[in-house]
Subunit: 332 residues, 2 copies
Amino acid sequence: MNILIIGAAGMLGRKLVAALIERGEIGGRRIETLTLADIVAPEQPAFSGAAETVAADLSLPGAAEALIEQRPDLIFHLAAIVSGEAEADFEKGYRVNLEGTQSLFEAIRLAGSRHAYCPKLVFTSSIAVFGQPLPERIGDTHILAPLTSYGTQKAICELLLADYSRRSFFDGIGIRLPTVCIRPGKPNKAASGFFSGILRERLVGLEAVLPVSETVRHWFASPRAAIGFLLRAAELDTVCLGQRRTLNMPGLSATVADQIEALRRVAGDGAVALIRREDDKTVADIVAGWPQGFDAQRALDLGFKADASFDEIIRAHIEDELGNSDVFSRQD
Amino acid sequence: MNILIIGAAGMLGRKLVAALIERGEIGGRRIETLTLADIVAPEQPAFSGAAETVAADLSLPGAAEALIEQRPDLIFHLAAIVSGEAEADFEKGYRVNLEGTQSLFEAIRLAGSRHAYCPKLVFTSSIAVFGQPLPERIGDTHILAPLTSYGTQKAICELLLADYSRRSFFDGIGIRLPTVCIRPGKPNKAASGFFSGILRERLVGLEAVLPVSETVRHWFASPRAAIGFLLRAAELDTVCLGQRRTLNMPGLSATVADQIEALRRVAGDGAVALIRREDDKTVADIVAGWPQGFDAQRALDLGFKADASFDEIIRAHIEDELGNSDVFSRQD
């Protein structure tokens, strides 16, 4: 099996590559070739099969065609610029997140018009496709009404994914990831950064800042769970999806207070002592518009598995990230 | 006021031009300039102000920029290839219905980046943005899950319309038109054609073929009502729309039997005698997936007005189309 991962240099991309290499197979088929693409060339992986790393900008002419020239059987399309950047730079957001995806879809369609070709395609969408007013639990049939350009771009890609799949140009599945927590690496400027930061920084003895009330509720999955979703999506027989090809992923609905209590249980009273509350109205206003929870029964029925508890999320982070002393230098 | 109508040579476009000229104003502002564009040059209208007719393909480079060079205050974007053609010719559908609209939106945005410019833009979407399974009455918050490429293209344009409006590149409003009935002109090959045909043909003494059961229910608006929606959309203060800029239009939910009984009431027993039932499974299967009714309360609250009855729809057709002997030669 020949697998192409677009966005392979990102946090989830690297973990996905590691998971695929560790498994050696997917859906019962041995992985023979890995092509890892990103805007900068991903690291060369330690893989016994063939592995190629490519620096590619999907939105440039010919880039998508080159990536699918070897006709990968399975394509993970994880590449995107993030919400904040897509909002700050309108043109770049549409160019990368929409035109880049359209180029990929078109390259696959045109390859198939020459010789039969219908790869499996796993696309990471986002809960940003939903916008206020929102119910307490958002179902799979909730209206797509994004309130950001990023969410708009993801929603459009979901619609294209469904239409290209309906026409059998590829066999697509979209998954709407919860906010990934604990996101490894250094603090970043994302409005959601504190959800990871208050746990991640305290686990290594650093002070952490909490910019919102402890009552704020949001929807989370660990990096482990997110990788599990990608693998499950790749293996799933999409016949069971019908025409609605994008799914809300299961997750944990938790308040900041729930996170802090889990940290206390796993790491002790000392761990929660240095979380400093410093209200930030801008962050609080942004977060107030975000989803608090989802009804992901459809995904659960299809075998997608959420984390069991926030305690488990924290323990997984300790195992995966803190057992290795150079963990921070390896992460973005 | 300077008005641009894209799709001005179509059935609704021509009726809209006539209505604008008859009114002479819109939203209390005198209409000074009309620019009528379509893939073929529209007829030159009899208008006391300035009127220009243009043959333009929006999807070609520079075409959209040229159309908005005079910075129209109000733009009606009605141009599209129809559902059947978009399904039969995938590339043409995306090129005209999606890229054409994107080109228009981008031309407006880029014009505004040079000198302040934020026109009102009225976009005709379609009930094809909805797909099975459907409730008996579809509300404005129903999920966009089209099952055709045409519906996908319209849904994507709705999302772009909302995002460009949210960013104040223009002041957009989308309206999802019911099936227009009685559609004037010659029979066409659209799967929906018989809804108009059984009435239109019988009103001029021709035999009419009914390919489905009389129990089939669908959602209708007369051409008069559709023009009323376009004018109301142009005048509406979009502040009351919030971020959800596309509305289900009100209509009449009626069965074929309801249509036939209305024809009998308006035109007598003789009119209904020559409707010949000739089952067509292909048409029946297509129509079975179509919406039967909508909850258009939001649009009603905003002053959009549906036809009162099918009797009224038939009488309006007689007044508007059969009072003029060359009516068929003027229609598409």
